[in-house]
Symmetry: C2
Subunit: 577 residues, 2 copies
């Protein structure tokens, strides 16, 4: 800030000088007191100078009596889960009234390390969306799998010291915190000593274990599944990020416990969001819609998406419409549908009626390509040599990423290998390590997927992003895995030696370099084919569901490249029941 | 923070290791949701580890069912106004449940410059009270007077860069902000570019001028006199510090506008607090009492004194009872009287039943002594040579520091000099410059003081702290001023060439080196004598009232060493009406 800029802002505020832009005829949402009042917004150099007026501007826009709301903040998201790059995600989210996202780039960092972080930072500069990054705290998310990078405390120092890095992203290794894992303690104290905040992730943690987690100064949590869990965490001083993503839908449940009194530490987030969801349902605007449908008053809902988030993440002078605040403003026609008519970011009209206005330029993805490294993979590696078909299966529980652990009886051939039975809803699932050339392949069983033929493979598998594949036979699985290798990462649906559908994800094997529309359409085609040709259950999202089957920090049973993992006891477990 | 300390805290939180201290049998006040619940507080290394239990501790204290409340925060205070030094003020405030004060040391800095700040910082280290300093922003408060230091933007750089300095203290020169004074803009941008907050002071400012002030990113204000003013400022994003001091009593008035919804940006402060007030009425505990008397629910009131203040001033992990928070806890027997039974600071029992427990050691005051520098002062300098007795008088309005401007007719002798008339409630007032040896003496008239004989002089005169003296004749005034010089700064009440009462203030001429009790008793004696011997009105605080008569940032009429100042038009004005 230089004195000339400040002088201009003050003079504009006083009405002594023309603003760059005046948004006239607004119903301004004041998130502080809170209230709605009629006014006009004078903007100078991207910052709000005044909010009552009358003001004159070099440019003047009539808002037609629309509600002027602070633009929305997503408090926790993984850009990579949209399968598009940061600059493309910006194009998709801004038209929904989003100004800012708090992003944890742990997917790409699991694949590419700090080089991946640097790519995300550079790509973010190409969008008007304000993408604020936290440093992935748990890469890999557990020591029980191989990723493309192991980010230990020593390696975290340099990026954590950067001013642009707000803090440590979701500290998923909550057992490591509670049990005082030495490396975990080093990471935590590193952040504390740099005055960086530490975001959390502790599904179902409660009682003295939760106390221990909070005592480590962990700041927030987006994993609450029940009102009771939310209230316990709020009471311990944690910010609660009410999540509404493509896979996880906690918002309606948690809203039953949100009151005007406790909402001040409640925020909204998506965590993982597919392009299809964005196009069909929206982003944080959708969350506001849900809040109002569930009976929360609109101003409390808006506070969660604006001021509360800005306070939580120390985003000074954001999240409100007031003098000195960044001119991130969305015009809504009503406070029920929250249709974003116009979106101003830093005082510039950036989206109108669903359309992102700036030209999108693309960050070079070359450094992020070529990320699939298989060593001596073959069908032979899928063999299980089981002594019994009485086994534990990972059970899909639709509508979330938590899995059950189900005991099933599967058919085996004479060599102890799985034989698919169309009457039993159990298939084989394999994880193939693709970063370090370990040659690791682990197999297990998956119940509730519905697949009747072929296989589905994908090089996204949270959070290490090995190749995960579910199929009815080793032939189908091996073919699908090879296809992923061939396209340099992505998704593939195969049957009988044929590729039925696929989508390349050249950016680290986890993101497309195509538009959101292309990704949506290709993914829709993949979904349709899995549902129709492979008979996967309609209530199961066929690809994203698979991508969470490796995530050894979400209960209860998961498969990493090292084997079947019991998240509840936090150790590997036998396939045999 | 080292990993061993964190490990211990986590283990204590889990109940796997003994705490240093457990406060058992509490009703814990959770300021987050907010609610009250039964629990016990486990403390490790001065930080709260856990809040439910059961816990074991090396030491265990039974709270007997008392309310465990986060210790209280005074969001804006001038230590110097208590007339005692920082370490002594700590002794007085902590027993009332105060853990933290946000202090603006602008009185001593006006006298001694950055040397004064350094003294205050050092002295603060000798008390368990957490004294957090902001850098005085307006020294002198206006360019219309002489202080011991002129702190320009260039001189502010070094202290503002210090980590221990939280930001810029009350930016009193609001006309300078609104009118874009170049030096003011430099100071403001200096703070912004260092990410330091800027506290405010803008009594009565509203409309587009207030907008301009807020646009300069000014963060808070403690000068609201009406609910409407408070609401306007809150709505512009400013934190509102509801003030209840010895001289200014805004709390009850403003509470009429405080709601659960808007309270989140409301805080409590004292601004200026005399020892007598502390002994008789308390500190922020008194404010809580008033809040509840006025019908505010206790949890909202407590939030204002704890969490809200911590958020406003970025005091991370303070202001709440939760794991990871500093163990600053006050035990209250009820939430009506707010009698502080025990006060724990950083986990150590620091006060009990009104008594401060640590031994008080004193900072060396030598560098702060010898601050009275008069040049060629004599009775002759008090002459006014008035052509007419139809004059403006500064009118005392009891209960605040705002003055009126009243037209009065005074008697003059043949040389145009004031002749006191016991039937008219008008006396003479003089300001004698005492820092730079300018020899400046300015005189004017004071209405509503009640004085019938003698004079009262004091070397505290906000904010430049020249000598201010009110009396019935030049003889009395000159004698009183000389007495102040003789005692090295302080207060004196004189009559007919005799000193009736006095108190030395050797620390910069504004603070005593004695105990709070001594200061209280000496001041009480001074008050009694002024009321009884000099007939000063009982409803007027005879000394503090005088000390605000120079403060050219508080409406309406004031006297500096350069002359009579009209605060409303922000310029010097003639004494003649």
């Amino acid at each position: 800030m230089d004195t000339e800029t400040l002088k201009k802002r003050i003079e504009v505020a006083r009405g002594a000088r023309k603003a760059d832009l005046v948004i006239k005829n607004c119903r301004i949402i004041d998130v502080f007191t809170p209230r709605i009042y009629e006014g006009e917004i004078a903007i100078a150099d991207g910052v709000i100078a005044g909010v009552s007026g009358p003001y004159e501007g070099e440019e003047e826009i009539d808002a037609g009596g629309a509600y002027a709301c602070p633009a929305l903040i997503d408090s926790h998201i993984h850009v990579e889960s949209s399968y598009v790059t940061p600059e493309e995600l910006g194009r998709l989210l801004v038209p929904h009234g989003t100004s800012t996202i708090l992003a944890d780039p742990h997917e790409i960092v699991n694949v590419e390390g700090i080089k991946g972080l640097d790519y995300m930072l550079s790509a973010a500069k190409r969008t008007a969306l304000d993408i604020r990054y936290l440093l992935p705290s748990c890469v890999p998310s557990t020591p029980f799998e191989h990723a493309g990078c192991t980010l230990d405390a020593a390696m975290m120092e340099e990026p954590l010291y950067r001013k642009e890095i707000l803090g440590l992203a979701e500290f998923m290794n909550y057992p490591g915190v509670v049990n005082c894992d030495p490396e975990v303690l080093k990471k935590l104290t590193l952040a504390m000593n740099e005055d960086k905040l530490i975001d959390g992730h502790a599904p179902g943690l409660s009682g003295n274990d939760l106390m221990a987690y909070a005592a480590a100064e962990i700041h927030g949590d987006h994993e609450c599944g029940t009102v009771e869990e939310m209230q316990e965490k709020l009471s311990l001083g944690m910010y609660i990020l009410l999540r509404e993503g493509s896979a996880c839908h906690n918002l309606r449940t948690l809203l039953k416990g949100v009151t005007k009194d406790n909402a001040r530490r409640c925020l909204l987030c998506s965590d993982d969001l597919q392009t299809k969801t964005i196009f069909e349902e929206g982003h944080i605007d959708k969350d506001l819609r849900i809040c109002v449908q569930e009976g929360l008053d609109p101003l409390t809902a808006i506070r969660m998406a604006t001021l509360n988030a800005a306070e939580c993440f120390h985003l000074e002078h954001q999240g409100a419409i007031a003098p000195g605040y960044r001119a991130d403003i969305v015009l809504f026609e009503d406070l029920r549908d929250f249709h974003a008519k116009s979106v101003f970011l830093k005082g510039v009209l950036t989206a109108e009626d669903g359309k992102y206005l700036p030209k999108v330029t693309r960050e070079d993805i070359t450094p992020m390509t070529g990320s699939i490294h298989l060593k001596d993979f073959s069908k032979e590696k899928l063999k299980m040599h089981l002594p019994s078909g009485h086994v534990k299966a990972i059970e899909i529980l639709p509508g979330g990423v938590v899995t059950g652990s189900k005991v099933v009886d599967v058919d085996l051939d004479s060599e102890g290998e799985f034989v698919f039975d169309p009457k039993k809803d159990v298939c084989k699932i394999a994880v193939v390590e693709r970063h370090q050339g370990t040659g690791n392949v682990a197999c297990a069983f998956l119940a509730g997927y519905g697949i009747q033929k072929g296989a589905v493979a994908v090089s996204i598998a949270h959070d290490s992003h090995n190749i995960i594949c579910a199929g009815v036979s080793d032939d189908e699985i091996a073919f699908a895995v090879r296809e992923i290798e061939k396209i340099g990462g992505g998704m593939a649906v195969v049957e009988g030696g044929k590729v039925l559908a696929e989508m390349a994800l050249p950016v680290g094997g986890i993101m497309s370099d195509q538009s959101g529309e292309t990704v949506r359409d290709e993914l829709a085609r993949i979904h349709d084919i899995t549902w129709e040709n492979l008979s996967i259950h309609k209530e199961v999202e066929p690809v994203m569901t698979l991508t969470f089957m490796s995530l050894a920090v979400i209960p209860s049973l998961k498969l990493t490249d090292e084997g079947l993992f019991d998240v509840d006891s936090f150790q590997f477990t036998s396939i045999l029941a």
